[in-house]
Point group: C2
Chain length 233, copies 2
DNA sequence: GCAAAAGTGTTAACTATACACCCATGG
DNA sequence: CCATGGGTGTATAGTTAACACTTTTGC
């Protein structure tokens, strides 16, 4: 298999860097965007929190590896997520004390996700973005990158569906946008504009909760990624 | 170095896939978008055209590897380009007859690029998008992906600067947009809108050419990537 | 009846779109 | 003087942004 590769630069048995996968999973907790972290059991950065990640074995696609690693380290299955996509590939040559590796990262969205103890038995827990500690590797920067991508994605797709239950109120929808964007939006303008995009449909159901007027429940027309006719915010 | 990696999945000496880099370089040729291809000298796909690519040696970042491979296979230096960014990372496990590899791809823009014969001595040549042949691997799809990214990029950044000379006419600017988008634009609306973005400044120079009124020359305020205040087209 | 969140409309400013003719030059 | 590409304005429709009060419920 290696007979077609130029050997002049690296005559070693493993001439290319190791491949890892890391995932940035977001969900809303109390109207705040939260990210899934695991506590490292081994050096480097033993005991510190980091993004759930692991090695990409030969024969696995990066997507397969991401699924396997997430399941093993957090108990979360990709099928539980509303959305996941490849984010970026980071070089770790200068930052990773282990040596030369490349990290293919994924960004995913879900709701009601509960990481569990697993065979590999690492601690795994969602942290609100405002409470993310200093992480191993340059994972803080990767989270910032993922958050920026998410903000952009919400402006030109219906990706927000993946953060919400299948039936939701317009206030919940607006709160999801506000949590991701980190700023408040005008209620009347938000509703007018979002309804004009024809992404959601009113249902006959009401959401009764608390000592106030019940709210109309809506649903998304598509629960797969759709591009908006005009961009939002 | 490997002592911290779980060995249970792959006990081989090279447990992760090989890493390759491939580049999609665009420039304008006769007001048409063209992409740089090289002719393969080795199997697989010997003799076919493909994106310039090669192995990512351990110790090189993917960016370094991309620079080295481009220089070696086409004679083009990344410093000659106006813009380059990572595009996407493709799994090749199912499509690559060589076995399991992962390809980190880059997308770049330039002007006046002339690939040359090099020590590695592969044919390298720009093909107008309409004349790209069937390529090895799934490189046709990668070009389509890069083209889509470029269309998006032109709508929210000033990336078009990288396709133009430092002094250019509004007609050249419009032609660049039209070449990338694949459709014509209204001249008056294009000029009005582009000027309102405050990305370019009129110079005192005129472009005299042909039997017609000379054209005013403009320049970009920044020759690095800038995000637009409102999106274009 | 009161506290809490749901729901609703109008106006003004801005942006996008459609569209046709005159200008300056070289040959 | 003619062929060629450069350069310009207006009117309409659509979109965005700012802004405050009434409704329905549980307690």
């Amino acid at each position: 298999m290696n007979n077609i590769m130029p050997k002049d630069r690296q005559p070693l048995a493993t001439p290319t860097p190791e491949i890892y996968v890391d995932s940035v999973l977001f969900q809303l907790i109390d109207d705040e965007l939260a990210v899934l972290l695991t506590q490292r059991e081994l050096d480097p950065y033993k005991g510190m929190w980091a993004l759930p990640g692991g090695i990409n074995a030969k024969g696995e696609t990066t997507y397969d590896a991401m699924q396997n690693v997430l399941k093993a380290k957090t108990g979360i299955k990709v099928a539980q997520l509303g959305f996941i996509e490849q984010l970026y590939t980071f070089d770790t040559v200068t930052r990773d004390p282990r040596g030369h590796a490349v990290s293919v990262t994924y960004m995913g969205l879900g709701r009601g996700l509960a990481p569990t103890a697993t065979p590999v038995k690492r601690h795994a827990q969602f942290f609100p973005l405002s409470q993310v500690p200093d992480l191993g590797f340059d994972h803080n920067q990767i989270i910032t990158y993922a958050h920026d991508r998410l903000i952009a994605k919400l402006s030109y797709t219906n990706a927000v569906f993946a953060l919400l239950p299948s039936l939701f109120t317009l206030s919940q929808l607006q709160a999801a946008y506000e949590a991701v964007l980190g700023r408040t939006l005008d209620k009347r303008n938000f509703r007018k504009k979002y309804l004009s995009l024809n992404l959601i449909t009113e249902t006959s159901e009401l959401h009764m909760e608390g000592a106030h007027r019940p709210a109309r429940l809506y649903k998304f027309n598509n629960s797969s990624l759709e591009y908006l006719s005009r961009s939002f915010d």
